[in-house]
Chain length 154, copies 2
C-alpha cells in the first residue's frame, strides 16, 4: 500500500490515549481470535477493561473458552478496521461468574449484559495484554506498537 | 445473553441477501483470522467478492499468507460486531499479482488499492467459503448458518 506518511500520523502517546479511551468505552465489542491447532476461531464479544486487563465472559463450553484454556493466548481487535487496537493477550485468570467479586461488578458496569444472570457454566476470562498495536491506515503501520512485553512503550 | 426472539429476526433468505450485499460493497474490509499451532493471527484486510470467492491480497511473506499456505484455512469476519458475516474458508488458489488476470481486475474494481502496483512478492489469495454465518444480536444466533459445506442453505 503506497500511502505516504503525512501529518495525520499520531505520535505514540496519542495512540496510547486513544487506545485506552476505546478499551474503556461502554458497550465496547471486540473480535477475539483463538486457535486450535491449524484452525482459527473468531467471534465478537463484549469486553471490559479492568486494571489494565481485558475481560470477556463466556460459557466455559464455547470454542473460544476451550481454546484459551488449552493455548492460554488470544489476539483481540477493538475498533473499526481503519482505526484498530490489536492486543496479543495471555489468559491470566478464569473466574466463575458466581465468584468473581469486583471483576463481575466492573464487567456489568461496562458491558451491555451481565453474565452473572446467566449463571451455570459462564465464566470471566481475564486477559493480560503482552503487546498492543494501534493504527488507522497504512501510513500508521510504522510505530504501531504501543505496548511491548507487557509494558507501555510510553 | 437473555435477549428474547422478536419480529426483527431476519429470515434466512434476507440474511443471505444482506451478506451478499455486504461482501460486494466497494472498499469493504474484513478481519482475517489464521492459526499457526496455538497462536491465532488477526489482521484487517481489504476484500473483493469474485465468483462467490473471497479474495485478499498480501505480501507472500506476511504471517497471514504463511499461515494460509500451511493450514489452507481461515475464518473471516465482515461487518460491525452487531451485524456480522462470518465465513470459514479454504485456500483455493494463490495467484502472483503479475499473473492474476480477471482476479486482479476484479480486486482493483472493488478494493481501495491495487496490489499489482506493489508487485514483487504480492499475491492474491482466493478463498472458497465452506460455511457462512450471519447474525446481528443474540436473538439471531439461532438460524445464523446461511451456507453449509460450501452450499447456500437457501
Amino acid at each position: 500500500m503506497a500511502h505516504m506518511p503525512d501529518l495525520t500520523i499520531r505520535p505514540t502517546a496519542q495512540r496510547k490515549a486513544d487506545a485506552l479511551a476505546r478499551l474503556s468505552t461502554r458497550h465496547q465489542d471486540a473480535w477475539v481470535a483463538t486457535a486450535d491447532g491449524g484452525a482459527a476461531h473468531l467471534v465478537p464479544l463484549s469486553i471490559a477493561w479492568v486494571d489494565e486487563r481485558l475481560v470477556i465472559a463466556l460459557d466455559g463450553t464455547s470454542v473460544t473458552a476451550r481454546n484459551l484454556a488449552a493455548t492460554v493466548r488470544a489476539r483481540v481487535a477493538v475498533g473499526p478496521t481503519r482505526d484498530v487496537v490489536v492486543a496479543d493477550v495471555v489468559l491470566e485468570a478464569t473466574l466463575p461468574v458466581a465468584d468473581a467479586g469486583e471483576v463481575g461488578e466492573a464487567y456489568a458496569a461496562q458491558a451491555d449484559w451481565d453474565p452473572r444472570a446467566s449463571g451455570g457454566t459462564y465464566q470471566y476470562l481475564v486477559l493480560a495484554p503482552r503487546r498492543i498495536q494501534a493504527w488507522r491506515e497504512a501510513d500508521e503501520i510504522a510505530g504501531r506498537t504501543i505496548m511491548r512485553d507487557g509494558a507501555w512503550v510510553v
